[in-house]
Every structure is written in C-alpha cells, then in structure tokens.
C-alpha cells in the first residue's frame, strides 16, 4: 500500500525523524494561511499524488511542474490554486495522470548536501537492510548502475535490531564528521523504529538533506507498507486514498479479486498467480496485449467468478476475454457452472475463449458446450492465446 508524501512526512515526524516545517492544504486559502504561519521567506509547494517525478511533470492544462519554489504566501496561494483540482502527469502516472486534491506547503531548506537513505527488505538474507549513499536527490538505481561503490548496504539482524555501531558506520559513510554523529544516528534509529513498528516494506528518504545550518532533515520520503500486515495497522489503512488508485483495481479489491489493470485489450481470468502471469506471457508471445492480470484463486466461488466477469466486461478497452483455468481444488465443472451463471446475468459483449484443464475437465467442457453460449473452447495453451489475439483483432479464430 502507498500513501501521500505529507502522510509519510507526518509518520516520520511522529517517529522522531526531523522534517521541514509545513503542513498539507486542501484549498488555496488554506495553503496561504499555512505559509503565513511559517517563519521563513521562501516556500515550497508540492502537489500530492502517488507518483514520483513530480518536479519534471506537467498538469493536464499545460501548467508546468508539480513542485514550485516561491517567495510570498500570496504566491503560495496562486500556485496552490493552479494545482488543486488539476491532474498531474509524470513519467510514473501514465498518460492519464493522477488527480491533485492537496498540496504540501513547507519552508524551503538551504541545502548544503543531498544524501540518500532507505530501509528495505533484503530478500536473500531475509533481513532489513539500510541502503545509504552520499549521492542523494537522484534515483538510487542510476547511482547503483554508474557507481555501485557509492552505495553502502548495512544488513540488520532482525532479532537484535539496528546496533549503535551500525548507525555510526552508516553516518560516517554518509560523510558526517566523527564529532557530528549524534543527529544522523538518532535519525537512523528513528527511521528503523518506524520501519519495524509500522510493518513497512520500505522507508526511503531521498533526499536526506544536510542544511547550511548543519541540521539533518528528511526533505522527501516514500513509505511502503506490507499489505499482509495491514490487519494490525488500522491507522495505516485509514491513510489510503482511493482517488489515486485505478478504479478497476478498487472494484476488484471489493470482491477480493487479485487484479492489476494493464494497458492492452485482452481481458484475462486465471486461477493462480503463477499461471496468471504465464498467461500474460502467452498472450504477448501470440502478438497480443493483456488488459489485466486477474487471479481468481484456488477456491473461487460462483459469486467471485461472476464479479470477475463483470469487471472484465465492464472495461471498455477489453475486446476479448481469455479464461485459463487449471482445475485442482477448484473443479472444472463448478467453474463452468459459475461461468454459465455469470453469462446469464451479464450477457457476453466480446468473444470469450475458454481453456479448461484438470479435475472434472470433461464435465466442465460439456456444461459449456450445452449452455449454448458463444464460448470458444481451446485445449492447448498457445492455441488459447492465439484464438484470443485473433478475436481481439476482430478476426475469426483458426
């Protein structure tokens, strides 16, 4: 799960990580009054969307950049009025962009140095790892590619937690003088505590700024959370902003379907995550483009299958649907009954290609055949993908 920058900033501040002064505003008036309350003469106004690359992005109406630096509270108000209610397009949002409902108004910071700091999960050791670099303010992947030696990875023992010597090691690597390790070490411990306590999948502070006055502050931060642990963090669940999510994803979540919207025109319904992924690969190998990833799971009910069908049929981009099921626990005849029921309540709008295999496959195929519904059966995997691609292109299958 992702959250907004201002929410991440609030969580970091609450954990004891220094952040620049400021607050979130949902109207130009509010933005101006926040600016008036800040004891400074230069302000940053940042559009709040769930995407990176805001500074280099542009708004739907042509207004440039989702991050502005201005001198007066009045200008803060002007900038906020251009951003709020507008849609910001960045290299991460896709061409449709993300709606802006709020801006973060903050004091601008006199930056001496920009650093990079993140805490993520290291899969191979099964431990949290601190990733640090003196080259902050840019994407860490670019640093990793050009100068891997500029990145320190400090693995933390999950039972012991971050040790003081490790915090000192990271701080020294980040270029802090040995007499000035207190502030960065305290910040590291606070960030690590946040990572553990909130079941984060990542805490990324980029840039971590050293000000001309010598303070260390988190200028921008991205927090990610482990979806599996949300059950024990109601406070994090409440931070979710549906306006930033794909509406198809939201509809799927409502029915507990494992769904990811993609950009093609072949809708997919598959059981099992691995098979669903492999089905996307098959469609592309056949020259088509999938409209979605959809795993109905091993024990999908008739109700879930109906909901899945509605979702695929309701997507205007979908020109053909490929159903790929390996019946294990979910028996093919049960699935076939579910599909027939779903098609009766929502008659098929596009060609549907069905590939069934596994438990009670003959009974399942028989039910589909006798239903009289316009379903195109396929036996082989590649055959199914070829038929779906042909159908989406408006051609008759082989």
């Amino acid at each position: 799960m992702n959250i907004h920058e201002y929410q991440a900033r609030d969580l970091l501040a609450a954990a004891g990580v220094p952040v620049p002064r400021g607050a979130v505003a949902r109207s130009p008036e509010e933005a101006e009054s926040i600016a008036r309350s800040l004891p400074c003469n230069s302000f940053v106004v940042k559009a709040q969307v769930h995407a990176g690359g805001r500074g280099k992005g542009h708004f739907q109406d042509g207004y440039k950049s989702g991050v502005h630096l201005v001198k007066t509270p009045h200008q803060v108000r002007d900038v906020a009025s251009r951003m709020i209610g507008n849609t910001l397009i960045t290299h991460q949002t896709g061409p449709e962009g993300k709606p802006v409902h709020a801006v973060l108004v903050g004091e601008s910071t006199d930056i001496a140095r920009e650093l990079y700091l993140a805490i993520v999960l290291d899969r191979s050791s099964g431990c949290p790892v601190i990733v640090a670099s003196q080259q902050g303010g840019v994407e860490i992947e670019a640093v990793a590619e050009k100068s891997p030696e500029a990145i320190l990875r400090e693995v933390i023992h999950p039972g012991l937690g971050l040790q003081p010597y490790q915090a000192r090691k990271v701080s020294i690597f980040l270029g802090f003088p040995s007499t000035g390790l207190r502030a960065p070490c305290r910040l590291l411990h606070a960030a690590y505590r946040l990572f553990i306590e909130k079941d984060c999948s990542q805490v990324e502070i980029n840039p971590l700024a050293v000000t001309k006055g010598g303070d260390v502050v988190a200028l921008d931060a991205k927090l990610g959370f482990d979806d599996n642990a949300l059950f024990r963090h109601k406070e994090i669940q409440e931070l979710q902003d549906p306006s930033q999510e794909d509406p198809r994803d939201l509809a799927a979540a409502e029915h507990h379907l494992n769904y990811i919207g993609l950009e093609g025109n072949i809708g997919c319904m598959v059981n099992g995550a691995g098979l669903a992924m492999a089905t996307l690969d098959l469609i592309q190998a056949a020259g088509g483009k999938p409209a979605n990833f959809l795993d109905v799971g091993g024990g999908a009910s008739e109700e879930m299958i109906t909901a899945a069908f509605r979702l695929l049929q309701g997507d205007p981009a979908v020109k053909a649907i490929l159903v790929n099921i390996f019946g294990g626990i979910l028996k093919c005849d049960i699935l076939a009954q579910g599909m027939v029921a779903a098609c009766r309540t929502a008659p098929p709008r596009v060609p549907i290609i069905v590939r069934l295999q596994g438990t009670n496959v003959e009974a399942g195929r028989k039910i589909l055949k006798e239903s009289g519904l316009p379903l195109l059966p396929a036996e082989g995997l590649m055959e199914a993908a070829d038929k779906a691609v042909a159908a989406a292109a408006g051609k008759k299958g082989k």
Binding site: E141, G159, R232, G272, A273, M277, D281, I329, G358
Partner: protein
C-alpha cells in the same frame, strides 16, 4: 527413494479444525498420507473424522503420536507462532500452506529457525508430494504419477501445469515441491534442487521460477557447478510490468532487479533447458531425457 517425504512420514496438521485445514487433512488422508494428529488450541481431546486425535499443543501431539512432519493451515496472524511451535517440538519437516503472513513475522521466524535442524517449506505454497506415497499440501493428487522427474516451483498452479504435462507425456514424478510465493520463505529453489540432485530416483529436474528476487540465479550457479542431471526450467512473468506485485507477494520487479529475462539468461548459461512458453515444459522434459 524420494525427497523429504515418503510412505513412512507421520503428519500432524496444525489448524485441523478450520475450513481449509479439515478439507485438506481429509484429502491428504484419502491420498494415503499417514495423518496421525491434529493440533488446535482448546480443542485437545477431540477427534478429527472420528480417528485422528486432536491436541492442544504440538509437543503433546509429537509425544503421543511420533509425528515428524507438520502441515500448517493456521490463519496468517497466528501462523508465525505455529511454525515456531512446530520447530520447538522437534518436527523435522514443516509445510506452511498459509497465505498472507506479514513479512516481518517471517523475517523473525527464518532467523529463529536457523537454530533448529528442521526444514520449512513455504509459506504461501502448495506443499510437497511424493506420488503414490505421501501428499502434504493442497495439490490435486490425481494429476501425479510415480516416476523419475523431480519438480520444484515457486507457484502452485504452474506446478500443476508442469506435473500434468509430465504425466500426459507418460512420465511421472519422484517428488514435487512448491517453495511458495512469499519474499521470505524457508526452503529455497537451490536447496530443493540439491535434494533432488542427491536423490538416486530423480533422473531429471524441472524448476519453475517467476519474477522477483534472485533465487533462480542462485540455483543456476549451483546447477552450473554441481548438477549432472538434466534440468528443465520455465520462468513466468517475462511481460510483467515493473513495480507491480503479480499476485504473489514475492513476484515483483523492483529497481530493475528480478526480471524474467535476467533469470532466463542465467539459467541458459548454466546449461538449463529453458521452455520458451508454458505449454512446452512436458516436451522439453522428454527431449532432455532423450526419450
């Protein structure tokens, strides 16, 4: 011969009174697995299907029934505790089926288990089966057939696809292991390949990977330096968009790491026969075995 489980394996089921736990305990029993005990706190003294004794704790169950393997269906919020309880009671093989365990919990479990000699398979996995002898997990038993192909996979349904293709070619499986789709789990692909390689009855190994992490690459290195048996592989997710979790918590390309292309390249370099598409696995196995 087989890997990790055989006809002598004595299985206990943690969470045997739950909906999935009871359904699959029943299915395993029907397949022929020796299901000797169940564990559900506060249900000790009852019987499952009138024959299998239920205990409050794993250690009581082990003392009374000599169970040596456990299958876990406990809900995600209590699953880490269940794994630790099984390890502490001396269970040698722990198969955690539960999906949705918090990563932080698994991080601690994995470290705690380094002090035990047990093997953990999963979580978020289909389980392990030695066809005709012992099934521990949620896989449909009938698609398997005793034989000489070892299978290891990160995905449930892809394992079934591969197994079905192998069976349809007239071949069979020695042991099939699903290591699970979570980013932190017990048995790795490489370790599973090591077991299968050491098993004299396994003549070929099928390894099914997917995007995310680097286990395929690590296994490829091991295969290149140590494995003499033919290895056939398939990697799912070649066309998955970066940054999205593809159903499995562990199936994600992040920061350019964990792509299918990199994994396929590493496997090919190690001399592995990589199936181009999912439908080709069965034929690749036949080719590799020279039949």
């Amino acid at each position: 011969m087989s890997v990790l489980v055989d006809a002598n394996t004595r299985l206990l089921v943690q969470g045997i009174t739950g909906k999935s736990g009871s359904f699959h305990a029943s299915a395993c029993k029907e397949y022929g697995t020796q299901v000797v005990a169940g564990v559900t706190p506060a249900r000790g003294g009852e019987k499952f299907e009138k024959t299998v004794p239920i205990f409050d704790t794993v250690s009581e169950a082990v003392a009374a029934t000599k169970a040596n393997a456990s299958m876990i269906f406990v809900p995600p919020e209590f699953a880490a505790d269940a794994i630790l309880e099984a390890a502490d009671a001396g269970i040698q093989l722990i198969v955690a089926i539960t999906e949705g365990i918090p990563v932080m919990d698994m991080m601690r479990v994995r470290h705690a288990l380094s002090e035990h000699s047990c093997v953990l398979i999963g979580p978020n996995c289909p389980g392990i089966i030695t066809p005709g002898a012992c099934k521990i997990g949620i896989m449909p038993g009938y698609i398997h057939r005793p034989g000489n192909v070892g299978v290891v996979s990160r995905s449930g349904t892809l394992t079934y696809e591969a197994v079905w293709q192998i069976t349809s070619q007239g071949l069979g499986q020695s042991t099939c292991i699903g290591v699970g789709g979570d980013p932190i789990h017990g048995l790795t692909l490489q370790k599973a390949v090591e077991y299968l390689h050491a098993d004299p009855d396994t003549k070929a190994i099928v390894m099914i990977g997917e995007i995310g992490g680097s286990e395929e690459e690590e296994a490829a290195e091991y295969i290149q330096s140590r494995v003499k048996k033919p290895v056939i592989s398939f990697v799912a997710g070649a066309t998955a968009p970066p940054g999205k979790r593809m159903g499995h918590a562990g199936a994600i390309i992040s920061g350019g790491q964990g792509t299918a292309q990199a994994k396929i390249e590493a496997l090919k370099k190690a001399g592995v026969h990589v199936a181009e598409t999912l439908g080709d696995i069965g034929q690749e196995v036949v080719k590799a075995l020279g039949k």
